[in-house]
Subunit: 552 residues, 2 copies
């Protein structure tokens, strides 16, 4: 049977737009000769819909949409993810569902069994697990095939790959034992670095045990913090990847289950630096556009962080949509302004300079009485950062440009950033990118483009916030390679101070960094959403109390 | 049997401090002749610990603490909430547990069955439901009693009181049928307006069916957004309340199960205005103190919102800990400054004036080129709000005062507030208080204190942000009584536009307000934590995507 894997970029909540997109892809699949077209998880509403699911009308609208899409399924079968009201008055009120549409109607429905409720996932907040699962039969274009549907997490349950057997059921075994000839995984699997290879190994290993082929269909695109990387895949019964759709782009991948070894398209998946860069690019583009913005503004300090964000922004939106602003004070080195100017010129973007010195002085004057000759401290540094935040937001408000923040994960972890200052913005593009990876991505960008877009001086000078004379980051922070190691172990892996020190890091330094991470939860609470690229990002998937006193 | 209900104010994560508190209360209960003392849910770690539970060392520390507390339980039995590692390698890794401590050891353990995963609760993120439950036997001071332990949600499962039967099990029936003579509910039940009466009715009705008395033990105090109101209660077998601990304060309540009708202490529960005011007071006090601050600063505009926050702050922290700042511009009415000054004088708090006019003018000058003679708009209003935010944060940074924001729920709902401006602060004290309730609480405060602390002018003048000449809130917003009705139905009850209009509200206005609520999700994402007083607060319990396009 000829099957199409429809990998689309949905907008969360846009039920009419998503439905239209599904119907167009269904028609294209039919024209290409497919008997079955498979869409991703919750395609009708976009994943993750979060608390939109709490609105009864939202669920009803989505149920009407699936009926409407069903009527268009003539001469082709389609498997489409949507939300189904649970008719049983007991249990959670919804199912995470997939409908088999054929002959103009819903021929069968299938519900998700394993509902992830960890990290960024909250599915038991909304959904009831399927009471039982069974294969369903596709009949289209004179052909017949018994498929075993799994929905995303249903296929992430192999104890060989997990630290813990989280679930009591195994829907994969259930559908295979009941006679499925082909497995389908209707999915919404967000990117994190290294996950793609793991995912293919996890799926390949499981199905090779059973000897049944698998069609994995992912969505693509950014929805708030999560970026879905696509790369929908067809696996042969022995677990080999025989076809792969594009990563980071919409695609319609056709596979003939009869002639698996011949000619199916297999797109490459980019390596780590490229995949992270593309994730940021797609995440930025979709966040800006899905929020209704066309252009962005950012502060260009001449440092490595704002340089990276500028590169990502022009790849995402084009150079005409990007506005860079330098806001020097008396504490900024001349070289910083030069680097910022060069960077903007290399990218060909709009560049403005708004000095903050005079504003800073009036703040000083107006606060002199109330500050009563107290010594200068971090207060005066924060005032500068907040003047810059105010100026950038003024440009955002006046011209309708979304402001991007440029803080990296290392800074966000230890609170080396000013709330309402450099943390101002609609999106924190690199808040999940550790400092060392920021350097790596800028190198990658220069190599990719084949010229020195990020000036060499940006790599070689000591990082500095330039908020007082001769300041460098290392006045306040440990070297970034040590800092990033500690953050990795503490934030991503939840290791204790003792365990981190046992990994060869100085115990005093470890405790100092952990203390900074803990104390700065209040800043991160008020940060803009950030694009997730690691196993544990600050944001929706990390829920730490603020007023708490756990000390190790 | 003489039983003590120990209602304490725990600090989340402070395992040594909480353990100490538990031991002290255990000793006090013993001195008062109790054979059993009952503590609240997760007492050892404080509720809710959130992702601290993801740290294996945190769980181990809490397990060591319960062993330590157990050794102190000599001559008295204690039932104490804590976290237990699930020894089964399948299922979630933790249990929400209560341990019966007696004779210096853990005599029995009981695990929670029903794990709330809605609104502010995320328990299925962490905990495995108890596989089975059975009564446990208390033996202390020569007495013996079979108790049926339930943990919080386990007793919130009566279909007569709920829209939906969420759960498939009924732990209450399980323990009673197995022979429990006394029910205990080890709880952490946060305040919302109207909930106290509902809670007592729900509990009373259920136990009267079974004819078994109930000891309900709540924690008290604020933890981030949630405020636990205490009011631990003893119900007789017929459902009557026979003893009640204080609301909004620590307490140790003694009940003799033999002589229920005689002499048990029954504290009153405050009425709605008083209970909301006390919730805000306790929430503010605990947030400030548990975050390690002693004093606060707030902008005093002479309006009703900052007046309410100032009243709450002095009740929470005392007048010497409260600093009010007026920051007039050319757009502020003389009366506003007078009202702010009178308000501060009536409360006896520190009051400063920092004019923003000169700073505002320099911003105007520095932005003149880049703004290129474009007409003045909301940009110039936001600049003023952000100058004020910068000044207040400068005071916060210089003096170590926590800045409080003063925006109410009605403003937060429709985005009538400036991000990084009046939204700056560590805690949004009244962000869950609708405007009409703000007026009511100020009236209540004047009545309670028996004098006009909030000046009459503050009630009678038209609300205004005073960011342009002759501005009033009603230039941009519908009258607050209509607005608050729509917000109630849309935000708290998830009604559709059509349903809200059917309740007698103008359909165009309803759609306009709903649009404003939806569009301003990005502002609320970056708001400080707010104190929850209604059934649905903005914050942790309301998770709406930002880049989404659901339109009704």
């Amino acid at each position: 049977m000829k099957i199409a894997l429809a990998q689309l970029n949905y907008i969360v909540g846009d039920i009419p737009g998503n439905s239209e997109k599904i119907i167009v892809a269904m028609e294209r699949a039919q024209q290409a000769g497919a008997a079955l077209v498979v869409f991703s998880e919750l395609a009708v509403v976009g994943y993750p819909p979060k608390d939109l699911l709490a609105k009864p009308k939202f669920v009803r609208d989505n149920e009407q949409a699936i009926e409407w899409i069903a009527r268009k399924a003539q001469g082709i079968s389609a498997l489409v993810g949507f939300v189904r009201q649970n008719p049983n008055p007991r249990g959670r009120s919804l199912y995470n569902a997939a409908a088999l549409l054929q002959d103009g109607r819903i021929a069968a429905e299938h519900y998700k069994v394993l509902l992830p409720t960890y990290d960024v996932f909250d599915e038991l907040r909304y959904f009831e697990p399927a009471p039982a699962v069974a294969p369903i039969t596709v009949e289209a274009a004179g052909q017949k095939l018994t498929i075993g549907v799994t929905i995303c997490e249903d296929l992430w349950n192999d104890p060989r790959f997990l630290k813990r057997k989280l679930y009591h059921r195994n829907p994969l075994a259930e559908v295979i034992q009941a006679g499925a000839q082909l497995l389908v995984n209707v999915s919404a699997s967000p990117f994190e670095r290294g996950k793609h290879g793991f995912r293919e190994k996890l799926f390949g290993t499981q199905i090779s045990d059973f000897g049944v082929p698998l069609a994995f269909v992912n969505q693509v695109g950014g929805n708030d913090e999560l970026i879905f990387d696509g790369a929908s895949t067809f696996f042969a019964a022995d677990g080999r990847v025989v076809a792969r759709a594009k990563a980071f782009a919409e695609d319609l991948l056709l596979v003939d289950t009869e002639t698996l070894n011949g000619g199916a398209r297999c797109e490459p998946y980019p390596d780590e630096a490229a995949s992270v860069f593309q994730t940021l690019t797609l995440g930025l583009k979709d966040y800006v556009h899905k929020c209704g913005f066309k252009q962005i503004v950012l502060g260009l300090s001449g440092g490595i962080d704002s340089s990276l964000v500028a590169c990502v922004a022009i790849e995402a939106l084009g150079k005409d949509a990007v506005h860079g602003v330098a806001m020097p004070s008396q504490f900024n080195a001349e070289a910083s302004l030069t680097d910022a100017r060069d960077m903007a010129a290399n990218l060909g973007i709009d560049f403005r300079v708004v000095p903050i010195e005079r504003i800073r002085q009036v703040f000083d004057t107006e606060l002199a009485d109330i500050f009563d000759n107290l010594p200068r401290d971090v207060t005066e540094e924060n005032i500068q950062a907040r003047i810059r935040g105010n100026l950038l937001m003024a440009l955002s408000n006046k011209y309708g440009w979304m402001l991007l923040t440029t803080g990296n994960k290392s800074e966000m972890a230890v609170g080396y950033c000013t709330l309402y200052g450099d943390m101002c913005g609609g999106l924190a593009v690199i808040s999940d990118v550790p400092k060392n990876m920021v350097y790596r991505l800028c190198r990658y960008y220069n190599e990719w483009k084949g010229r020195q877009i990020v000036p060499e001086g940006v790599f070689t000078k000591a990082p500095s916030a330039e908020l007082r004379p001769n300041q460098t980051d290392q006045d306040s922070l440990p070297p970034y390679d040590l800092l990033d190691q500690i953050i990795q172990l503490y934030v991503e892996e939840n290791r204790s101070a003792e365990e981190i020190a046992a990994a060869g890091l100085d115990a005093t330094l470890v405790r100092q960094v952990i203390g900074m991470v803990d104390r700065n939860e209040y800043k991160r609470k008020q940060a803009p959403p950030g694009l997730k690229v690691t196993g544990k990002a600050f944001g929706y998937g990390r829920r730490v109390p603020i007023a708490q006193r756990y000390r190790q």
